[in-house]
C-alpha cells in the first residue's frame, strides 16, 4: 500500500475517480456513452502530444516545435492526398518520415552544437510552421478520404472510438521504452545527469537524437490523428499543443530539469486535463469564468501531486530548484 502511495499516478488516479464520481452525481450525463466517447477522443489526441513532449522532458530538454511538426505533417498528409492524389498509406508513411526528419534535425543540431534544445526548437518552430504557411497560404485541405474520416469518427464498440487504438498502443510502448529498455533508461540517466552518463559511456548523440526522433514521430502521429478527427487538414493544427503538452507530464510528476517522467501518470494527467475542460462545458461555466477556473484547476492538480512528495524531498534538499 505505501508502495502504491509513492507512485506518481496514484494520487492522480484517485483525483480522477473521485472527481468523476462527484461530477456524475451532479450531472449524470457525464457518464453517458456519448460523453465518454467524446472524452476518449480528446484524451486520444492529447495523449500522443503529451508523450511527444514527455520524452524530451525525460532527457532534460524542451521541444517547443511539437505543434509545428504536428501541423506540418498534418497538412503534408492531407496535401499529398488532395493535390498529388496519393493513397492513404504512402501519404501516411511520408508524414511519419517528415516527423522523423524534423525530430532528427532538432536532435542533431542540439547535440552537435551543444546549444539548448529550447533555442533550437524555438528556431525550428518558426521554420516548420513557416513551411506550413508557405505551402498552404493559410488554406485548409478538404479532400480527406472516407476511410480516414471513418477512422476518426467510428466506434469499435460501445463508446470506444477507433481513434483511441493508436494512442493506447503508443502509451504502452512508451511505458516499455522508459521502464524496460536500455535506450529508455539511458535517456533518463542522461536527463538525470548529463556529465555522469557521458562518463559512463552513454552516447549523448544517440540519446538526444533518438529522443527527438521519437518526439517528432509522435508529433507526426498526433498531427495525422487530428486530421482524422477534424476531417480536414488546416494549417492551424498543432497551434494549441504547446501548453497541454507540458501540463500533462508535469501534472504527472515529471521534473522539467530532466531524469524523471512517469508514463502512466502523464496519461492520467491528460485524462485529468480533459475532464476539467469538459466539466467546464457540462456545468455551463460562464465563458468569462472559464479561464480563471482552468488556472486554478492546474494549480490545485499540481499542489495535490506536490503535497505527496513534499516531505520526502525536503529530507534530501536544502532548497528545491526543480
Amino acid at each position: 500500500m505505501s508502495n502504491l502511495l509513492k507512485k506518481d499516478w496514484f494520487g492522480l488516479g484517485l483525483v480522477i475517480i473521485l472527481g468523476s464520481i462527484i461530477i456524475s452525481f451532479f450531472k449524470p450525463a457525464f457518464v453517458s456513452p456519448f460523453n465518454l466517447y467524446v472524452l476518449m477522443l480528446s484524451v486520444s489526441l492529447m495523449l500522443v502530444v503529451a508523450m511527444s513532449q514527455m520524452i524530451i522532458i525525460a532527457i532534460g530538454q524542451m521541444n517547443l516545435s511539437v505543434g509545428a511538426i504536428g501541423g506540418l505533417v498534418a497538412i503534408s498528409f492531407t496535401g499529398l492526398m488532395e493535390v498529388y492524389d496519393l493513397s492513404i498509406l504512402p501519404a501516411m508513411f511520408i508524414g511519419l518520415g517528415i516527423g522523423i526528419i524534423c525530430g532528427f534535425i532538432n536532435g542533431y543540431i542540439t547535440v552537435k552544437t551543444g546549444i539548448s534544445a529550447f533555442i533550437i526548437t524555438l528556431a525550428t518552430l518558426y521554420i516548420f510552421k513557416g513551411m506550413n504557411l508557405g505551402i498552404t497560404e493559410a488554406q485548409p485541405f478538404y479532400e480527406i478520404p472516407e476511410a480516414v474520416k471513418y477512422f476518426g469518427n467510428a466506434k469499435i464498440f460501445g463508446p470506444i472510438p477507433y481513434l483511441i487504438i493508436i494512442p493506447v498502443i503508443i502509451t504502452f510502448l512508451m511505458w516499455v521504452l522508459m521502464n524496460r529498455t536500455s535506450l529508455g533508461r539511458y535517456m533518463l540517466a542522461y536527463g538525470n545527469n548529463v556529465q555522469s552518463s557521458e562518463l559512463m559511456g552513454i552516447s549523448s548523440t544517440k540519446i538526444v537524437v533518438y529522443a527527438h526522433i521519437i518526439s517528432g514521430l509522435l508529433a507526426a502521429i498526433g498531427g495525422m490523428l487530428v486530421v482524422c478527427r477534424l476531417q480536414l487538414g488546416t494549417p492551424n493544427i498543432g497551434d494549441s499543443w504547446l501548453l497541454p503538452s507540458f501540463a500533462a507530464p508535469v501534472i504527472g510528476g515529471a521534473i522539467l530539469a530532466g531524469g524523471k517522467v512517469d508514463v502512466i501518470a502523464t496519461a492520467f494527467g491528460v485524462i485529468l486535463v480533459a475532464i476539467i475542460s469538459q466539466t467546464l462545458v457540462i456545468f455551463k461555466i460562464d465563458p468569462f469564468f472559464v479561464q480563471i477556473f482552468l488556472g486554478f484547476m492546474i494549480l490545485i492538480a499540481v499542489f495535490i501531486n506536490r503535497y505527496r512528495e513534499y516531505r520526502e524531498e525536503r529530507r534530501n534538499k536544502v532548497f528545491s530548484n526543480e
Binding site: S116, L133, G134, Q291, K317, F319
Partner: protein, 328 residues
C-alpha cells in the same frame, strides 16, 4: 601568448552587435524603404517594447524559471492603467506609479506561489496566466479604454532626433542601463544572480533565496507593466487583446531576446545588453523580411532559418575564441 583578443570581443554581445550591423547594411542596400524615416521610427517603437518584454522574461530566466504569464500580466496592468486614467480620472503620473505597483504585485504572486510551493515557475505562471487573463476579461468585459489623456497617448507617437526615434526606445535603453547597474554593481543584483545559479549554495552562504526569487518575479512584473504602459501609449488605448489571447503574442519576443542574447535557461546568468541586442536583431530581421518581399507566408520560415544561423554563428565564435585563449 601571441595575439591577445580583447575581452569584449569574446562575448556573445560582440557577435550580436556584428550581426546587427551586418543586417542593417544588408537591408539598407537591398531594400527600398528600410532606411526611410517612417520605417526607422516604426522600428524604434517596436524594438523598444520588445526589449522591455525581453528584459521582463530575462529576470525570471535568471532564477532558472520562466514567466509564461508575462503577456497576461502586462495586459492586466495596462487595463488597470486604462481604468485608473479613464474611469477614475487619476492623473497620469500617479496612474503610472499605480500600474507599476500593480504589475509588481502580480509578479509577487507568481514569485510567492513558486517559492512557497516549490512547484516550477513554468507551471505556476501557466496557471496564473489563465487566472490574470481571466480576471482581466471578466472585469473589463473585454471593453477597451480608449479615452486616455492625450498627454499620455502623445508620448507614444512623439518623435525625436529629426523624427527618427521614438522616446519609448530611449526609455528601454535607460532601463537596460539601470538593470546593468543593478546586476553588475550592486549587492542585491549579485545576490539575485547567485541565487539563480545555485540556490543551495546561495542559501547556505547567507542569501535568502526565496526572497531573491520573489524579487526577480516582482521585477519581471514591474517590467511587464512598463511594457504594457508603453504599448498602451503606442496604440493609444488599453485593449484586452493587445497581447493576443492569454497574452501569447508577447511570449515569442520574450523568449527570443534573452535567449539570443546569451541568457542561460538554467539560470544564474544575465546579459542585459545581450537581451537588448537580441530584441533588436529579431525586430530587424522581421522588418527586413517584410521589405525584401520573400512573400509574407514565408516570413516565419526565413526568420527561423536566420535565428538558427545566428545561434550557430555564435557557437562558432565561442569555439574560436576559446581555442585562441589557450596558453601556448
Amino acid at each position: 601568448m601571441k595575439n591577445k583578443i580583447p575581452d569584449f570581443v569574446k562575448t556573445n554581445q560582440f557577435g550580436l552587435l556584428l550581426l546587427v550591423i551586418v543586417f542593417i547594411l544588408l537591408f539598407t542596400f537591398t531594400t527600398d524603404g528600410f532606411s526611410s524615416r517612417f520605417n526607422i521610427y516604426a522600428l524604434s517603437r517596436v524594438v523598444a517594447i520588445d526589449i522591455m518584454i525581453g528584459l521582463a522574461m530575462m529576470v525570471v530566466i535568471l532564477t532558472g524559471g520562466l514567466n509564461l504569464s508575462l503577456g497576461a500580466l502586462g495586459v492586466s496592468a495596462a487595463m488597470f492603467g486604462g481604468w485608473c486614467m479613464e474611469s477614475m480620472g487619476i492623473p497620469i503620473s500617479i496612474s503610472i506609479v499605480l500600474i507599476l505597483i500593480f504589475g509588481s504585485f502580480l509578479g509577487w504572486i507568481n514569485g510567492y506561489v513558486t517559492v512557497k510551493t516549490g512547484v516550477h515557475s513554468f507551471i505556476v505562471t501557466l496557471a496564473t496566466m489563465s487566472i490574470y487573463f481571466g480576471f482581466m476579461t471578466l472585469l473589463t468585459e473585454a471593453e477597451a479604454f480608449r479615452k486616455l489623456p492625450e498627454a499620455f497617448t502623445d508620448f507614444g507617437s512623439m518623435k525625436l532626433f529629426k523624427k527618427y526615434i521614438s522616446p519609448l526606445l530611449l526609455l528601454s535603453i535607460l532601463t537596460c542601463f539601470i538593470l546593468y547597474y543593478l546586476f553588475k554593481f550592486t549587492d542585491l543584483g549579485r545576490k539575485l544572480i547567485a541565487a539563480g545559479a545555485n540556490p543551495d549554495a546561495a542559501e547556505l552562504s547567507g542569501i535568502s533565496v526565496s526572497r531573491m526569487f520573489i524579487y526577480c518575479h516582482m521585477l519581471s512584473g514591474f517590467l511587464a507593466a512598463v511594457a504594457g504602459i508603453m504599448l498602451t501609449a503606442r496604440i493609444g488605448a488599453a485593449i484586452p487583446s493587445m497581447a493576443g489571447h492569454l497574452g501569447f503574442d508577447w511570449l515569442l519576443p520574450a523568449f527570443l531576446a534573452p535567449v539570443i542574447g546569451g541568457t542561460l535557461l538554467s539560470g544564474g546568468k544575465v546579459t542585459v545588453f545581450g537581451t537588448m541586442l537580441g530584441a533588436i536583431l529579431v525586430t530587424l530581421i522581421n522588418n527586413g523580411l517584410y521589405l525584401i518581399d520573400v512573400g509574407e507566408f514565408w516570413v516565419r520560415f526565413f526568420l527561423g532559418l536566420i535565428l538558427l544561423f545566428a545561434v550557430l554563428l555564435d557557437r562558432a565564435r565561442e569555439y574560436f575564441t576559446s581555442k585562441n585563449s589557450i596558453v601556448s
